[in-house]
Amino acid sequence: MAWTKNVLRVNLGDATCTSESLNMDWATQYLGQRGLATKYLVEEVDPKVDALSPENKLIMATGPLTGTVASTGARYSVITKSPLTGAIACSNSGGFFGAELKFAGWDMVIIEGRSDEPVYLSIENDKAQLLPAADLWGKSVWETDETIRTRHQDPQMRIAAIGRAGENGVLFACIVNDLHRAAGRSGVGAVMGSKNLKAVAVRGTRGVSGDSIRDPKAFMSAVSAGKKVLADNAVTGQGLPTYGTQVLMNVINEVGALPTRNWKDSQFEGANKISGEAMHEPRASDGKPNLVTNAACFGCTIACGRISKIDETHFTVKNKPEYWGASGGLEYENAWSLGADTGIDDLEALTYVNYICNEEGMDPISFGATVAAAMELYEAGLISKEQAGAVELKFGSAEALAQAAEMTGRAEGFGKELGLGSKRLCEKYGRPELAMVVKGQEFPAYDSRGIQGMGLTYATSNRGACHLRSYTVASEVLGIPAKTDPLVSDGKAELVKAFQDATAVVDSSGLCVFTTFAWSLEDIQPQIAAACDGDWSLDDLQTMGERVWNMERQFNMAAGLTAEDDTLPKRLLEEPAKTGPAKGKVTELAKMLPEYYRIRGWSEDGVPTKETLARLGL
């Protein structure tokens, strides 16, 4: 089984918390987490609703392997309709919150309606209640975490909260759990804020009983085999623990796919200064490295997390001792969005801004990318210094970035405009083509002119531009599971579909997608099959992944998105890369997209055919 079979339904309008049984027919078709919660969402929410209205729902869902001894069994996802994209939002987070929710006896929490007053949800095993949060409103994620723990006199609570960004409707606000892990993308924090829900605090002491595992002996053996594969693999056994995802900074720069200065360039001259290697280097100022240690999420035997300390004399934290302690450091995406994309090579400044993103509760990818777009608008003379908050909002200015971060979370001055995201910002200043987004969501850190498969990945991702829906970088750059040429678009449609479907499986299981640097579905399937009732052969899992993908697509189409939204900004389609291995290349989306639709079993307009839907049981 592995599911607790309990769903907590919280109606904020009525202030009620009720327990209901998990729909096991759905669980055996959609597994858990991303898949299962999406099924609940499409059944319960009209795709056309305003994402910030009480009619939208917010689901926090664990997977069947969340909270078990399976390596990386930490994950939970937040599923809702996104205010940033108008499409489905599905943001995945690690840390310890997800496992704690499971230990309290819940597979998922469905949050509906809107509270008149700020509240937070307290869950202690089967006791769930809404408590007043008027005093927490206006507080940061970090203050909220500490205040709730103190109030409950329970240091063992695990807390997921929004910061001021979520309260203020920043469209890329996230939900932060365990201080620096986040359900980061697509503005799920803004949805939570629109519901007047400040935090969810959980304490679970029931655990996941061995009796709930279908075949405990087979499970333990499959889990052990999986851990050995992770330990023996060069990426998950060495690269990630040592450098975190930041192991990629120099690699991606070398292949000419590190988007720089709002994607005007594809290589950053300062990449080595903000890389994983640089985080290990002793600083000139105090002789200490930026990185303090690596850290694991719950149950993870990889431990890619970064814990950093900022140089106390750095301009960002001088006389601000509250930022002198250790906290979550830079991962590759954040180092890129806050750094290369803005042309800033100041590692300490990027670390500080990353702290602020965690503290205020905003997605550093979208935030950094929005600042990058604003910098291009500023340099084009479309935003004045006064409008920008009395700073030179130029590429390379760490001062401008730090001030923008502080102002955005608090929705002060120009921060209010940044909080709308790059699409709306660039539209406002008359240059919509400068917004580096798909479906309104900002890109992550891979230039598709140099990694062609990522172009198709971005264009077709159900939640807008994203690297975590099909990470073809694994194949195209790292050779996992097999090397393909990053500059060639042939064959990428098939690759993207395979990655998309497999990732949907991982995201529905409770496991972390980073395991797939080492694990294939062949390593994951025995763990799921041993834990869960139902038919979970490799074929069943792959079909389930494809089912989830198509279901998300259907939600988006019903929300009003069409094939016209499966596209990229002009810059990636028409402006060739200027330097590096991809010099002269554009993204060959027009070659890949029709083939992708065909392989997916969709019409030329990107609509799943009746046959496809029937085959997938949709």
């Binding site: 001894v69 679970g204 029931r206 655990g207 851990k227 690596n294 850290a295 997390g305 250790a326």
Partner: protein
């Protein structure tokens, strides 16, 4: 030869695999709330520290127990709680200077590390060897080795020079 748990916090990543293994061994559930080894996260310092019973030779808990429910296992050196005898009076939890004996609401007994009968599951589960099970007389051996390596560093070069 007795063995001891040996903990090197520098190697700990805070993953809690030890807690999961411990609770599964003793309670058949993945449940950190039931683990008798606990990992503490000193967030501001970026340190993770696993902590559990050190199996004192003259164990306070054992001497404090009014019903003789805590006994030394001669083979492993573990001070074990005999559940059939424990009355849940919690005097041992007061006596232990380290806080490593604790009461369980579910069972009405106290729980503490019993070294899993000589095959500690936390050791098996730890992915970074932050927890090892070594000769009880030589828990300092690895630290000595590290210092020895430093003490001798460069000796070869100076001899050749």
């Amino acid at each position: 030869m007795l063995r001891s748990l040996h903990i090197d916090p520098k190697k700990c990543t805070g993953c809690l695999q030890c807690e999961l293994a411990c609770s599964f061994e003793h309670f058949g559930a993945f449940n950190p709330a039931k683990s008798v080894i606990r990992v503490f996260n000193f967030h501001q310092e970026g340190r993770f520290v696993p902590y559990t019973c050190t199996q004192c030779a003259e164990a306070w808990c054992l001497h404090a127990c009014p019903v003789d429910a805590i006994r030394a296992n001669a083979e492993t050196g573990a001070k074990e709680v005999i559940d059939a005898l424990c009355v849940g009076c919690k005097v041992c939890t007061i006596a232990c200077p380290f806080g490593t004996v604790n009461y369980s609401q579910d069972t009405g007994k106290v729980m503490k590390c019993d070294l899993c009968g000589g095959d500690p599951q936390c050791v098996q589960a730890c992915p970074t060897a932050a927890i090892t099970y070594v000769d009880a007389d030589w828990t300092g051996l690895e630290r000595m080795r590290a210092w020895a390596a430093r003490a001798n560093a460069g000796a070869g070069e100076s001899a050749q020079a």
